[in-house]
């Protein structure tokens, strides 16, 4: 069976993507900042009628069309949109590649399902028209020819006859670089048939092998594969309900059904969800969201359902919910693991607790300490988020005794290097019974730290007659005494 390829081109993809959500019946343009200038990125048909073009300066466009409405371009969203379209195009054939601002479909052997090539193209056009996307299609036996046909007028080249159909097209249709095209035009070679008529050796010598490769690819003398994107797994499911629901138990039941499906997909891909978003669409078209951030990647539907309980209870159902959707928005690798009868259980319950606490106070407020490599007392440990770290194993020893509690240095009276015999701290008076020290700690001069601007510190352990055992320091370069911590 001979190969048949459909090239699908969306000339106004970016602007139409925006206009789908917000229809405007007036000139509209997307702009972007390119080389420090705001330029037109994509236009709708109305704006093109007014004489605007892609790539022109935004100010020029405003002069030509004063009532132009604009928005900023979002290439990332465009990319996502075209990938969505690629998924949709999977209905025509299994072999779909994304090709810049278009799609490439290898429809070999699948056209008869839609009543032949013309039937398939009709179906394609009808559906894209309904979606409000302007498009051009080219159907040919090779990828290059289909691309050329789609970009330059559209059309369909029957099996085995490529050259008669693309011969009249300009040389740009061969996917060449600008400099090669310009050189060809300068020599008076305007169309592809002009090019084919020339001897190949001269062409290769003058314009390099790339030109011949592109020509051969278009004419089918060199193979060119379509590389379909591996379908990025989607961890989202939704459920539309025949009647609106409002009871917590009903929503939870719906959620559990969705969770089972999402967790099944996660399990197939050996992934675990880190963040799940539950969206309930209400009858009045408003949507309410519940987000759960998990303390560790998970794919256990029953456990996740419990963690959603609190959020679902706070949900405002309004006049009722008629569609629910669940998406695992953050996913991490979670390989299968041998289960044991002990060990995993404890970590699981702790992760669940951290998740539950995190839903109220935020996961960033649940921390643990890890040892750090510094001799500065307050930097000898780091505070990390418990949900995103593993506990350290040991490494907590210092050469000199360290206090149990640290606080920001609190100044006390005194400027002599000897520890004070009496001092006032936090409105209490203390008498020194025993002073052990000094332990000199120098700042890390290679790091800027405002707390250590006062220079060296001489630390003393002061045992007071009142019982408290305090950690005081004296700054010889900037005389003054401070209380920095308290020993057990």
């Amino acid at each position: 069976m001979n190969r048949r390829v459909v090239s699908l081109w969306f000339p106004r993809l970016a602007s139409e993507r925006v206009l789908r959500a917000r229809p405007i019946d007036a000139p509209f343009a997307l702009t972007h900042i390119h080389a420090n200038t705001q330029r037109v990125y994509c236009l709708n048909a109305e704006a093109e009628k007014q004489g605007l073009r892609k790539g022109m300066g935004f100010t020029d466009a405003r002069v030509l069309c004063p009532d132009l409405q604009t928005a900023m371009a979002d290439p990332q969203a465009d990319l996502q949109f075209i990938q969505t379209l690629a998924r949709w195009a999977g209905r025509y054939c299994p072999w779909v590649g994304v090709d810049d601002d278009g799609l490439m479909l290898d429809v070999t052997g699948s056209t008869h399902l839609f009543g032949g090539e013309s039937g398939m193209l009709e179906d394609l056009h009808a559906r894209l028209d309904r979606a409000g996307l302007s498009h051009k299609t080219g159907l040919a036996g090779t990828r290059g020819a289909a691309w050329a046909l789609a970009r330059f007028g559209g059309g369909c080249a029957p099996d085995g006859q490529v050259l008669p159909y693309i011969g009249r097209l300009p040389v740009e249709a061969l996917r060449l670089g600008n400099d090669v095209c310009n050189a060809l035009l300068r020599l008076g070679i305007r169309t592809i048939s002009d090019l084919v008529a020339l001897p190949r050796t001269t062409l290769a010598r003058r314009f390099g092998a790339d030109l011949l490769l592109r020509l051969d690819q278009a004419l089918g003398e060199q193979p060119e594969p379509i590389s379909p994107q591996s379908a990025s797994p989607s961890f989202a499911v939704r459920m539309t309900l025949p009647e609106p629901i409002g009871l917590i138990s009903d929503v939870m039941a719906g959620l559990e059904r969705l969770l089972v499906r999402v967790c099944g997909t996660l399990s197939d891909k050996q992934k675990g969800a880190r963040c799940l978003c539950f969206t309930a669409r209400r009858v009045d078209q408003a949507s309410v969201h519940v987000e759960v951030r998990l303390a560790r990647p998970m794919r256990d539907a029953a456990r996740i359902a419990l963690l959603f309980e609190r959020g679902i209870e706070g949900l405002d159902a309004g006049y009722g919910i008629d569609q629910i959707r669940l998406e695992a928005t953050e996913v991490e690798h979670l390989p299968f693991r041998q289960t044991t009868h002990q060990g995993a259980q404890e970590g699981d319950s702790m992760a669940d607790l951290i998740t539950r606490l995190g839903t109220r106070v935020g996961l960033e407020n649940i921390t643990r300490h890890l040892p750090a490599d510094s001799h500065i007392p307050e930097k000898s440990f780091t505070t990390v988020y418990a949900a995103y770290s593993e506990p350290a194993t040991g490494g907590w020893h210092s050469a000199a005794p360290r206090p149990l509690v640290l606080f920001p240095p609190e100044p006390i009276a005194g400027y002599r290097p000897q520890p004070p015999a009496r001092f006032q701290w936090r409105r209490m008076s203390f008498r020194t019974a025993q002073a052990i020290g000094p332990e000199r700690i120098a700042p890390e001069w290679w790091l800027e730290d405002p707390d250590w601007r006062s220079g060296l510190r001489d630390y003393w352990r002061i045992h007071t007659r009142e019982g408290r055992r305090l950690w005081l320091f004296f700054t010889p370069q900037n005389p003054g005494w401070f209380v920095h911590g308290e020993f057990a």
Partner: protein, 190 residues
């Protein structure tokens, strides 16, 4: 626990703390008491505090009492957040010990509720409270303060000032880091 003077009320009766209950501690040695409880429990612990408290535990200092790796810290914005977290953590049984630093008094209802949560989760709760702000629902209340002694610089005075199921007491104690247990040095006479 070694108690040199056999008497009717020894520290051994009330310490280690009765499990699955919430206890209170006040005084300057509260941090030490709570760390020792974590060390004796030999499991993971959650340390809940309110966000504005600027005192921080220093893991290197903590290491002599318990394992800093097994501690998780949580901070809540409001008093209610702290109490809510305390209840969740006590009830969940994921932690052996839950230490809560409180700056406001808790009423009888809240105290009783936390007590029930501790029983349900079989978790030990230690509430660090300001002096005189305890709740009547607590199992025991301790007043702990560092004790000065010219010879030994690691003494603490632990006063048991409320006990639901026993008598009160007053001890001078020392933490034995090697044996990981509390040693009673002497009993303070009334």
């Amino acid at each position: 626990m070694i108690d040199s003077t056999p008497s009717t009320n020894t520290l051994r009766d009330s310490f280690p703390l009765r499990p699955a209950r919430a206890h209170e501690v006040c005084g300057a040695g509260g941090h030490v008491f709570a760390s020792i409880v974590c060390g004796c429990a030999n499991g993971s612990a959650l340390w809940i505090s309110q966000a504005h408290q600027h005192e921080r535990l220093h893991p290197e200092g903590l290491a002599q009492f318990c394992w800093p790796d097994r501690l998780i810290y949580a901070s809540g914005k409001t008093h209610m957040d702290v109490l809510w977290m305390a209840e969740e953590a006590l009830r969940s049984a994921a932690m052996q010990v839950v230490v809560v630093q409180l700056s406001k008094p808790i009423d009888l209802t809240a105290g009783r509720r936390l007590q029930l949560a501790a029983e349900a989760g079989n978790t030990l709760g230690v509430f660090q409270i300001p002096e005189g702000m305890g709740s009547n629902a607590t199992e025991t209340r301790w007043r702990c303060s560092p004790h000065f002694d010219a010879k030994d610089s690691s003494l603490h005075r632990w006063q048991l000032i409320k006990n639901k199921s026993g008598t009160l007491g007053d001890w001078i104690v020392r933490w034995d880091e090697q044996a990981r247990r509390v040693i009673v040095v002497s009993k303070v006479s009334e």
